[in-house]
């Protein structure tokens, strides 16, 4: 058995190394092969985690939340296994453990922080039972892959039943997530934002789950933060947003994000209201596991979301922000984040329709692109496999765009004639290649140039 595990671990490491040299990610392949060689590799390695295992589930915010949680634990001196790249199906999870294992096939880790695709949880949980699950939110996403959101919820529910002792750290502001967590009977810890936000952009957003999951009555909302996230209650059966155990207040979106939780003020240097939830979720999870988190603020100030989540690049004189946007709720939040920057800007939108993106791109019409009709936006360029659909989407809100199917060509065009402030919004399969392109450009063009220091405050 031991030989098999060794072979499994080494092969995974080898595949990953070779793929990296070839400029590919290779994590999924490494995991697939590792499981093929030793189907018990994930079970055995995860059993060696000395303390506890966290999983992060939900439609949006998984990767950032999980990476934040991992960094928070590391800042407390813990050794952590984590699927940093966001490879979150069974092979990706297996790879995270195999790649982290020592050459003798043993794992040296106190904690595991693992994000898991909603539909994959049922396949991962037979290998290990997590101690905690963070449930971020539930939105419509890739309907051709997951089917309706009801199906996603059923799958998650099935997975949760496989780990009856698991504690669930859940977003209180999302009626769907809270319903799922509460009904599951698991012990729950809640986080949320109970104060109404001023200056929330008026949107005609598609909202999921307007009707009470428990009794079918239409939910009443005191306010929305975005999409269906807000303060809700059912006038019929009493289902309602619970008090948040961890509540973020005093939120400011100027120059990044500032908010207070448990009397401590935190600041992060990147944009996006939704990132309040990501930070708060990670904070709540680590606090729930018993950490005092004295180093949390310092960790935040050094945290780079990476992986194309509000990731910054600098090429020559142009500041570039790359951000993943793969479903309506995420894209609407992305647009809000872009608009929080009042400076002149150019935007490139890259839309692919590969299997991992979802073949169905009708969701583009559920995004409120009319909000991009703003003076601060100089140009919009559409790129990627379905750039024509994207151009048409914008045409029907009277926004003109330039069509440049090749991403690199599109970026070069805006580097040449742009205003030096470029946002690149991409969906899933465009992410890795675009990130490579930008990293390469930064490397060749920007040698010797340092990135500007981010302004960050420390914990008060």
């Amino acid at each position: 058995m031991r030989v098999r595990r060794l072979l499994s671990v080494w092969t995974a490491k080898l595949i990953s190394a070779v793929c990296k040299m070839a400029g590919k990610q290779g994590v999924t392949l490494a995991g697939k092969v590792a499981l093929k060689i030793d189907p018990a590799v994930l079970r055995d390695l995860s059993a060696q985690v000395r303390k506890e295992i966290f999983v992060v589930c939900g439609t949006n915010g998984k990767t950032t939340t999980n990476n934040l949680l991992c960094s928070a634990l590391e800042a407390e001196g813990q050794k952590v296994v984590c699927n940093h790249t966001g490879s979150n199906m069974l092979p990706g999870v297996a790879a995270a453990f195999a790649l982290c294992a020592r050459p003798d096939g043993r794992l040296d880790a106190d904690y595991a922080c693992i994000e898991i695709d909603e539909a994959s949880a049922v396949r991962v949980f037979p290998h290990f039972r997590p101690d905690y699950m963070v449930l971020t939110n539930l939105f419509r996403d890739q309907l051709d892959r997951y089917g309706e959101i009801d199906i996603t919820m059923k799958l998650l529910d099935r997975a949760m039943k496989m780990a009856p002792d698991m504690k669930v750290i859940v977003n209180a502001d999302d009626a769907l997530s809270w319903y799922l967590a509460e009904e599951s009977g698991h012990p729950c810890v809640t986080y949320g934002i109970s104060e109404k936000m001023e200056d929330v952009p008026r949107m005609n957003e598609i909202r999921e789950g307007r009707f009470c999951k428990r009794c079918g009555e239409k939910l009443e909302y005191e306010f929305y933060h975005y999409s269906q996230i807000g303060k809700y209650r059912c006038p019929n059966c009493g289902f309602a947003r619970p008090e948040a155990d961890f509540d973020a207040s005093g939120i400011s979106l100027r120059d990044g994000i500032t908010f207070t939780a448990e009397g401590r003020t935190f600041h992060v240097g990147y944009r996006g209201f939704y990132n309040v939830y990501n930070v708060l979720a990670a904070y709540s999870a680590a606090r729930t596991a018993g950490f005092a988190l004295q180093n949390f603020g310092r960790m935040l100030s050094g945290f780079n979301p990476q992986n194309g989540r509000m990731e910054r690049f600098r090429v020559g004189d142009t500041e570039i922000v790359l951000n993943l946007a793969k479903n309506p709720a995420g894209f609407n939040q992305n647009i809000s984040a872009v608009l929080e920057d009042r400076n002149q800007k150019d935007i490139i939108i890259v839309i692919n329709d590969n299997a991992q993106d979802g073949l169905d791109i009708s969701w583009l019409w559920d995004v409120d692109f009319d909000r991009l009709c703003e003076d601060s936006i100089r140009t919009i360029t559409v790129s990627g496999i379905r750039c024509q659909d994207m151009r048409l989407r914008l045409k029907y809100v009277d926004i003109a765009s330039e069509l440049i199917p090749d991403v690199e060509t599109a970026v070069r065009a805006r580097l040449k004639d742009g205003c030096g402030n470029l946002y690149v919004l991409v969906n899933y399969t465009a992410l890795y290649s675009t990130r490579n392109i930008l990293a390469q450009m930064e490397k060749t063009a920007g040698r010797g140039l340092k990135r500007p220091q981010k302004q960050n405050q420390k914990v008060s």
């Binding site: 309907l143 009801d150 009707f211």
Partner: protein, 239 residues
């Protein structure tokens, strides 16, 4: 001239970018100087069909469709009179299934509106694909995306098109959707209308004809629409 577009129950039936169909009709009216008003109806709102020129019935999840289905029985007679009087209807996906007599699922029978002589049975697996269809009445292919568990049988009715690529009504008889009087029923979303301006204009012309006795629509610059249509038609017709 003015057209009033009624969107039935967008709170419940709003999967797959249905808003895009509304937006497309609205814009293609506006660009021609035709006033377009969109009325959204919630489940508790009364629907006066005599005021409407085009009705959109979209798709929802099975659960939400069931809620709508009960409500629809109350307005069935008014809806039927509207359809028989050549009122324009675009029914997509779940909305299309509701036009028929029933939808048999493993959880039981969902009664339809019986506006069009068709019925649907649940099948497995779900039929998920890009779709290209053809109809001589439309100048150019119709492209879209389908994602449905139901298999629909339209009997002797005219289909919306013949399947070139994809599954269509049931994956068996090569037919997609249904045309009945001024009703278009289809599984195609994507949404349907932006990439198929000829279909959008067909609905608008029918509505204008009924209200004002004219089918005259000023030509628009549809190059971007047709480029997107052609891209999908060429790419997916091969597969």
């Amino acid at each position: 001239m003015k057209l009033i577009i009624g969107h039935l129950y967008p709170d419940l039936l709003n999967l797959y970018g249905d808003r895009g169909n509304i937006q497309c009709m609205r814009k293609r009216c506006e660009w021609r100087g035709i006033e377009a008003e969109v009325r959204e109806f919630q489940l508790t709102d009364p629907v006066d069909f005599s005021e409407l020129d085009i009705v959109l019935l979209g798709g929802g999840s099975d659960r939400e469709q069931m809620i709508v289905c009960r409500k629809l029985q109350e307005i069935r007679e008014d809806f039927r009179a509207y359809v028989e009087d050549y009122g324009s209807v675009l029914a997509v996906c779940g909305g299309y299934q509701l036009l028929g007599h029933y939808y048999d699922t493993e959880d039981g029978r969902m009664e339809g509106l019986s506006l069009v002589d068709l019925y649907t049975r649940q099948g497995s697996p779900r039929l998920i694909s890009n779709v290209v269809i053809e109809n001589e009445g439309f100048d150019g292919p119709v492209v879209g995306f389908e994602n449905h568990g139901g298999r629909t049988y339209i009997g002797e009715n005219r289909p919306f098109g013949t399947v070139v690529s994809g599954y269509g009504n049931n994956g068996e008889d090569g037919k997609e959707g249904v045309l009945y009087k001024h009703v278009v029923g289809t599984y195609l979303h994507g949404p349907l209308l932006p990439k198929n301006p000829h279909v959008c204009d067909y609905l608008l012309a029918n509505a204008l004809d009924r209200k004002y006795g004219t089918r005259d629509l000023a030509p628009l610059d549809d190059r971007q629409e047709w480029e997107a249509n052609r891209y999908a038609a060429e790419r997916f017709a091969k597969s």
